[in-house]
């Protein structure tokens, strides 16, 4: 990968890192109300995979969605203010931090673990049947790989050869449950064999690697070779949510070991080795922080949805739909 390309990816990861930190601060001030699931340490997955999609490709995300959303192209304004419950959010402030829909950017997430895999099959089926030049990517965690929905969806996608890239973002913990104790096989990607699919594992903390693999799989999926299941190995540097009792499931030393391997440090080191000026990277980071500070101030000014808005669109009044005949 060229130095310029890596620099771009690094910049995107920096944006996500600082966006996550800004969100964390807002959560600590109780300006984000729902459970907030920090993304720190996993940025190479969002940038590598979600960022490799075209704007009309479909992306299904999880209960830890904010960085996936931004990497897919949702605006920082819409994602942040959704978390803050403001009317300018993706779902008008009615979804909150774990569940929102942004059809304009083909981004959908929800807070029931594993639920998005079956929905991906429907999207993939429609794309295939309608002959569209689009694909669907579905992100989920190691925890979701233990749900019945995972199995049902993988099997259906495989028998119907649907254009879907399933990405298991293995951050080593399903809430407080370490993957090594709660997943029977050594690698989640090994489960792909059970569906007649290739076993693909990628270092999820190496953004060059995630992007390279993502682009290749997306390309192959466009050619009709899908579906694919890829496991991206990464590590959740913070708790499942802010302030969770971390010591009940992992040692501080373990976190420190992984911190040495986190994706931004690695990318920056490579850039410096390639001769990029550290001051230049620092300036880049400062620009991002300034931009996010402006975003924060703007977000705090945004209105909350009204009760009228909250109970609107529960369903379409009968006889009011475009396709109804009564």
């Amino acid at each position: 990968m060229s130095e310029a390309r890596l620099r771009e990816l690094y910049e995107q990861m920096l944006l996500l890192r600082h966006f996550d930190q800004l969100s964390l601060q807002l959560k600590l001030k109780d300006l984000i109300y729902s459970g907030y699931h920090p993304y720190e340490g996993q940025e190479a997955v969002a940038v590598g995979f979600c960022g490799a999609l075209e704007s009309d490709d479909m992306l299904l995300s999880t209960h830890r969605p904010h960085c996936h959303a931004v990497a897919k192209g949702c605006t920082l304004e819409a994602v942040l203010t959704e978390m803050m419950g403001r009317v300018t959010g993706c779902s008008g402030g009615l979804g909150g931090g774990m569940q929102y829909l942004d059809p304009d950017h083909n981004f959908y997430c929800g807070s029931v673990v594993g639920s998005n895999l079956p929905i991906a099959t429907g999207i993939g089926m429609a794309i295939k049947q309608q002959g569209l030049d689009r694909i669907c990517m579905c992100l989920f965690g190691d925890g979701a790989s233990n749900t019945g929905s995972f199995h049902e969806a993988l099997n259906l996608a495989a028998i119907w050869k649907l254009p879907i890239v399933f990405v298991c973002e293995n951050n080593q913990f399903a809430e407080a449950m370490p993957v090594r104790e709660f997943v029977a096989c050594e690698r989640i990607s090994m489960r792909a064999r059970g569906y007649g699919l290739e076993e693909i594992t990628v270092d999820g903390n190496d953004v060059e690697e995630t992007r390279r693999v993502a682009s290749a799989l997306i390309e192959r999926t466009r050619r009709g070779e899908g579906p694919f299941l890829v496991e991206a190995l990464t590590y959740r540097l913070r708790g499942h949510y802010v302030g969770d009792p971390e010591k009940t499931y992992r040692a501080r030393e373990e976190v420190e070991v992984w911190r040495q391997k986190e994706p931004l440090t690695r990318a920056r080191k490579k850039l410096l080795q390639a001769g990029v000026n550290a001051a230049e990277l620092d300036a880049m980071e400062q620009r991002i922080q300034d931009k996010l500070e402006t975003l924060r101030e703007w977000a705090l000014q945004q209105a909350f949805p009204t009760l009228e808005q909250a109970i609107d669109h529960v369903y379409i009044p009968l006889g009011k739909g475009e396709n109804t005949c009564h």
Binding site: S91, G92, L94, G95, Q99, Y100, L101, P103, D104, Y108, G110, V112, S115, L117, P118, I119, A120, T121, G122, I123, G124, M125, A126, I127, Q129, Q130, C136, G148, S149, E152, A153, N155, L156, I159, Q309, D312, H313, V314, Y315, I316, L318, G319, G321, E322, N323, T324, C325, H326
Partner: protein
């Protein structure tokens, strides 16, 4: 008009809608090769091909999720869950996604999905293949719930459900597939959300759903011979409920019996009953009476399963009791006293009469079994 079965009426609806719109497709377990369990899609795989008639693996969550995803992409899926008992596996998709996305997208996303299934007793399948679970869906904002009782209704309502932009839970009844009824030769639609007065009458309003409608009609015929004139209303759509038709009728008759196969407790029958109490209190000669399935798992075999749900005979008895009670109170006191009903059930619910072969009613059974019947 032609005389066809409920199953054939469903097949006609599929055929007409799939021809009209290529985005309409049917997906489910054995809907293709078998033409569905009760043959309601027989022959459609040959006619429309595997893109519009899809056999799916036994994966209810994936089938329902496939409905959500494909509807998101502009298709109009009819996803069949073979037995409503299996919809438990698909609940996450229906309740957490299909019912929520229109609202979560501020109205931008429409999910025109028909979750089509069948429920109820009558085919000797015991408690994991015979349940009446419609109440769950009535309780979920965002879903339309339809339960057709005749060939005419099932065709017209299914076509409307396919064309409606909301997710619709469409619940057929396994004991109705081979019932015949008159259906017009030409195309027609029945609007969702409208009840049908199946029989007009003056003395009692019977509100009955699905399989119970046919029993209510037969009971009404017998009661007519005894001089009791019953109006039978089939809501057809449980939610949104056509309150107006029910209210209009009860204001006329002053007596109302709600009959469902599902147990009364926590159910739609309570919703219907409340609507009547809220709007017709002044006109009511007696509190609304509910005559519903016993709160039990459907027992195995042809005899017991019929005894735990209302029947023609038990509806006749329930109406007679309601009428007698209403007449007594009116004559004796000239006013309403809801606590003085003759032989009122302890819990105010008239459970399906059990052990009718020896003439004992539901209450006797309950007393005899120390309440085990519940």
């Amino acid at each position: 008009m032609s005389l066809i079965t409920y199953g054939e009426a469903i097949r006609q609806a599929y055929r007409e809608e799939m021809r009209r719109d290529k985005n309409v497709f049917l997906m489910g377990e054995d809907v293709g090769r078998w033409g569905s369990l009760y043959r309601s899609s027989k022959g459609l795989l040959d006619e429309f091909g595997p893109e519009q008639v899809k056999d799916a693996p036994i994966s209810e969550a994936a089938i329902a999720g496939c409905g959500v995803g494909s509807a998101l992409m502009g298709m109009r899926p009819i996803v069949e869950i073979m037995y409503i008992d299996f919809i438990t596996i698909a609940m996450d998709q229906i309740v957490n996604h299909a019912a929520k996305w229109h609202q979560l997208s501020n109205g931008k996303i429409k999910l025109p999905i028909v979750f089509k299934t069948q429920g109820g007793a009558g085919r000797r399948n015991s408690s994991q293949h015979s349940q009446s679970l419609e109440n769950w869906f009535v309780g979920i904002p965002g879903l339309i719930v339809v339960m057709p009782s005749t060939p005419y209704d099932v065709k017209g309502l299914l076509k409307s459900a396919v064309r409606d932009d909301n997710p619709v839970v469409f619940i057929e009844h396994k004991s109705l597939y081979f019932d015949k009824g008159e259906v017009p030769e030409s195309e027609y639609l029945i609007p969702l959300g409208r009840a049908d007065v199946k029989r007009t009458g003056e003395d009692v309003t019977i509100v009955a759903t699905s399989w119970m409608v046919s029993f209510a009609l037969k009971a009404a015929e017998r009661l007519e011979e005894d001089g009791i004139s019953c109006e039978v209303i089939d809501p057809r759509t449980l939610w949104p409920l056509d309150q107006e038709t029910i209210i209009r009728s009860v204001k006329k008759t002053g007596l109302c019996l709600v009959v469902t196969e599902a147990p009364a407790e926590g159910g739609w029958s309570g919703e219907a009953s409340s609507v009547v109490h809220e709007h017709c209190f002044g006109e009511l000669k007696q509190p609304v009476k509910r005559h519903c399935g016993l709160r039990t798992g459907i027992p195995y075999g042809p005899v017991l399963e019929r005894q735990v749900v209302p029947s023609e005979e038990s509806i006749v008895e329930a109406v007679q009791e309601l009428v007698t009670r209403g007449a007594l109170i009116t004559v004796q006191s000239g006013t309403y006293n809801f606590m003085e009903g003759k032989d009122a059930d302890v819990d105010g619910i008239d459970h399906a009469h059990v052990g009718r072969s020896d003439g004992r009613g539901g209450r006797a059974f309950l007393e005899e079994t120390g309440g085990r019947g519940r």
